[in-house]
């Protein structure tokens, strides 16, 4: 036993606990618990926040046994490609068993944050009833609940501070969930219901806002007209984060003038979003607060034309996070580059999802941004075309990328100038950006790009591949080279059994691997599952017919359409539907 350890053992546990309180990162706390038995024990009982990146990697019982005093839980369910309709609807990711188990064990749950999970009204009702100190519910890209579940939360959670619904599919029963917040509720700090489609009682909302003096973040939904926004801003000038509902009105009306005045009074707004249904001529109302904005999300506002967008952006000199549509155009991105010198994160989403319009951005916009915004470190960019030269320039201008996601609207488009694959461009990105942790590639790509990724992307944790590569070699380069890889998702690429089986142990160092429309066969997946008992290897069929049919149809030599594998401590899951077979 080293001197340090013997010294540390003389400290009472309370001191250790106090020291550990300063460790906020999950990784640090995980590391601490590996040092020795007493540290493990102190850490275990003092751990309040737990992050579970794959809800099927453990189960509720193990969680509770391991961290009995947990107060805050983050859970993620479906694989990322579920966002793009690649995972059938009832695949899984139910939160109910977790809530049930924690309720039974009297866990003092205060915060719950869920992503891509199925949340039923029963779960929400149980949640609302079981945890008297519950404070914060954040649901991101979840589904399965209705406004009745929200009503239960509103009615029962006496100390609720945060109800944040981001991009969920909610069955809006047009009930009065908002009116269920009792008059005694004054604790709300954050309320986001922008994703709800139905009406809410405006008067109830105004009263709620008036009595919650600590309210800092409020995001309204589409159903609320400008008049309501105006009244709310008068009641809550202290807001930091505002999501407008609909933003359209006659700019000459008295309501609009009142709105302008109310906005002027909101000196604390740093984050702005919404504009769901917008009249461009109403935008000047927000100019007075633009100078202090650090975050701006206009990505749900296709109604704002490029020139109106740029006029607005010229006022936003302090923006750090900007989400917009490609209606801004390359020229508009030039304006961003000239104006937004503090920009760190940019997301440019496609406006033309149904093939109707012709708005898009190209490599020019990206190059302009990279040249003008020295602090840029995170980008998601949907574009019409790209060139290697542009990517090489971007790599030189911005060596600080931690997230780089490029999506060409045609998934296999080559370099627009030379007709070559985009291997060299992405190669430059990974070589230059030594801190890159997340990468999505697109365009015409050969095995060469994966050689570069394997060679240079040392910090890479998540990689998304679609329609790329020529052979197993591509996937092998990545598996062998990227030591920190946690999530690999691949679709429509010619990677097969050789790549899958070459280093089976690697998958235990990763959270998950998704492969769809690739060349892996059932036989290879079976081999993998047999050799690696601590992996769940799921074969997912389309939602037709039961497991029996699946088995009858597939033989070991057949290609598997969708495979999702992940490390787990608890074996095959018990809630898998018919069309999911865990080998």
């Amino acid at each position: 036993m080293c001197l340090f350890q013997s010294v540390m053992n003389y400290f009472p546990e309370e001191v250790l606990e106090h020291v550990f309180d300063f460790l906020t990162s999950h990784r640090d706390r995980n590391a601490v618990s590996l040092v020795c038995k007493s540290w493990y024990s102190v850490e275990k009982f003092s751990r309040k926040k737990v992050f579970i990146g794959n809800c099927y990697a453990v189960n509720p019982e193990r969680l509770i046994a391991r961290f009995p005093r947990l107060r805050s839980l983050i859970l993620k369910g479906k694989p990322h490609f579920a966002d793009f309709n690649l995972v059938p609807h009832d695949w899984g990711g139910h939160v109910y068993p977790w809530i049930e188990a924690m309720a039974k064990s009297r866990i003092n749950l205060e915060e719950l944050r869920l992503k891509r999970m199925v949340v039923s009204d029963e779960s929400l009702k149980l949640l609302a009833k079981s945890f008297p100190n519950f404070k914060s519910l954040v649901l991101v890209s979840c589904e399965g609940f209705t406004t009745n579940g929200l009503a239960a939360i509103a009615s029962n959670c006496k100390f609720l501070r945060e109800l944040d619904l981001q991009e969920n599919e909610v069955d809006d029963r047009k009930g009065h969930w908002l009116s269920c917040f009792p008059e005694s509720c004054t604790s709300l700090v954050s309320l986001n219901f922008a994703c709800l489609k139905g009406e809410v009682n405006a008067a109830a909302l105004e009263r709620l806002v008036a009595r919650c003096r600590n309210l800092r973040s409020l995001r309204l939904n589409h159903a609320l007209p400008l008049e309501v926004l105006q009244k709310i801003l008068v009641q809550a000038p202290q807001l930091n984060d505002l999501g407008t509902g609909s933003f359209t009105h006659d700019p000459n009306s008295e309501t609009f003038i009142k709105l302008k005045n109310a906005v002027k009074n909101c000196h604390s707004i740093r984050s702005l979003s919404g504009f769901l249904d917008v009249n461009g001529r109403c935008l000047p109302a927000v100019y007075p607060i633009c100078a202090n904005l650090t975050a701006l999300n206009l990505s749900y506002a296709p109604g704002i034309f490029s020139n109106e967008l740029t006029k607005l952006i010229r006022h936003c000199k302090k923006i750090e996070r900007l989400w917009i549509l490609d209606t801004i155009g390359d020229k508009g991105l030039g304006v961003v580059a000239n104006t937004c010198k503090e920009l760190q994160e940019l997301r440019v989403f496609p406006s033309d999802l149904y093939g109707v319009g012709n708005a898009a951005v190209t490599e020019e916009g990206l190059v302009a941004i990279s040249a003008g915004c020295p602090k840029l470190n995170s980008i998601l960019y949907f574009c019409q075309q790209m060139t290697n030269a542009a990517l090489i320039t971007v790599a030189k201008n911005c060596p600080n990328f931690i997230r780089f996601r490029l999506c060409t609207l045609n998934p296999i488009v080559p370099d627009a100038a030379t007709n070559q694959p985009l291997d060299e461009g992405f190669g430059a990105i990974v070589q230059s950006c030594k801190g890159l942790t997340r990468l999505s590639v697109s365009g015409q790509l050969t095995d060469q790009v994966f050689l570069y990724i394997g060679m240079y992307a040392e910090q890479l944790e998540m990689l998304s591949i679609a329609f790329a590569g020529d052979s197993d070699k591509g996937m092998l380069y990545v598996l062998n080279g990227c030591k920190k890889l946690k999530k690999l998702e691949i679709r429509d690429s010619p990677f097969g059994n050789m790549a899958l089986l070459s280093d089976m142990g690697k998958y235990e160092t990763m959270r998950s691997l998704w492969m769809s429309s690739c060349q892996v066969t059932l036989g290879a997946c079976k081999t993998l599952a047999e050799k690696m008992p601590r992996l769940n290897v799921e074969i997912i069929s389309e939602n037709e017919g039961g497991a029996g049919e699946v088995e009858a149809r597939l033989d070991d030599r057949d290609r598997v359409e969708k495979m999702y594998l992940y490390r787990t401590l608890v074996g095959p899951r018990t809630d898998a539907p018919d069309f999911v077979r865990t080998l």
């Binding site: 793009f84 991009e167 496609p350 999802l353 093939g355």
Partner: protein, 197 residues
């Protein structure tokens, strides 16, 4: 990747249709069939047809397989649903006691829209005069000119721009009495709306 998808994508590559300026114009001016709403895969066909540089490629060349690429571009369904705006605009007819609302996204051509208006305002009929359509109240012989207010607040004559652009920019529609619309009408032989879009 699946063979169908490879073949669609490589067809697009081969015919040089990839780096395109997508236009809204229909290839060669063939109007869509009345009542047919174009799905996404048909849009793909139109893009290919309209943007090919080759003169030899006749615009009526049958497009490649109509299969879509599932999940591309990778955009969350939530976002797709939010952007799928239903485009309700007010329709006013001079002299009518109240306004109506129509969802422009329900139609895929000016023809269809006018037909719908004809249904809504039963006093109106679309008359075929010299291959051009006019909107008339046959009971008292009043002619109407369809106009609309665009994003910039200007009143425009319906029919000048391609249908899709119209849907994007139209804020409200007004059927103006012909007698008032003298200033607006272009210097053409009649006040009728040419319907070849």
């Amino acid at each position: 990747m699946s063979t169908e998808i490879r073949s669609i994508l490589s067809e697009m590559e081969f015919s040089g249709c990839l780096k395109t300026d997508l236009t809204l114009g229909l290839p060669g001016g063939a109007p869509p069939k009345p009542g047919s709403k174009r799905g996404f895969s048909d849009m793909v066909d139109l893009k290919l047809g309209a943007s090919c540089d080759h003169d030899e490629v006749s615009v009526s060349t049958p497009p490649p397989t109509k299969a879509q690429v599932v999940g591309w571009p990778p955009v969350r369904s939530y976002r797709k649903n939010m952007m799928k705006s239903c485009k309700y605009v007010k329709v006013a007819v001079d002299g009518a006691p109240y306004l109506r609302k129509v969802d422009l996204e329900m139609y895929s051509s000016y023809q269809q829209l006018l037909a719908a208006l004809e249904d809504m305002f039963t006093c109106l009929t679309i008359c075929n005069v010299m291959n051009e359509r006019k909107i008339m109240d046959t009971a008292n012989g009043i002619e109407y000119v369809p106009t609309y207010e665009d994003r910039d607040g200007d009143w425009m004559l319906v029919g000048d721009v391609p249908w899709n652009m119209f849907v994007e920019t139209c804020k409200r529609v007004r059927l103006m009495k012909s007698s008032e619309a003298i200033g607006l009408s272009p210097k053409t032989a009649s006040n009728g709306l040419s319907m070849n879009r």
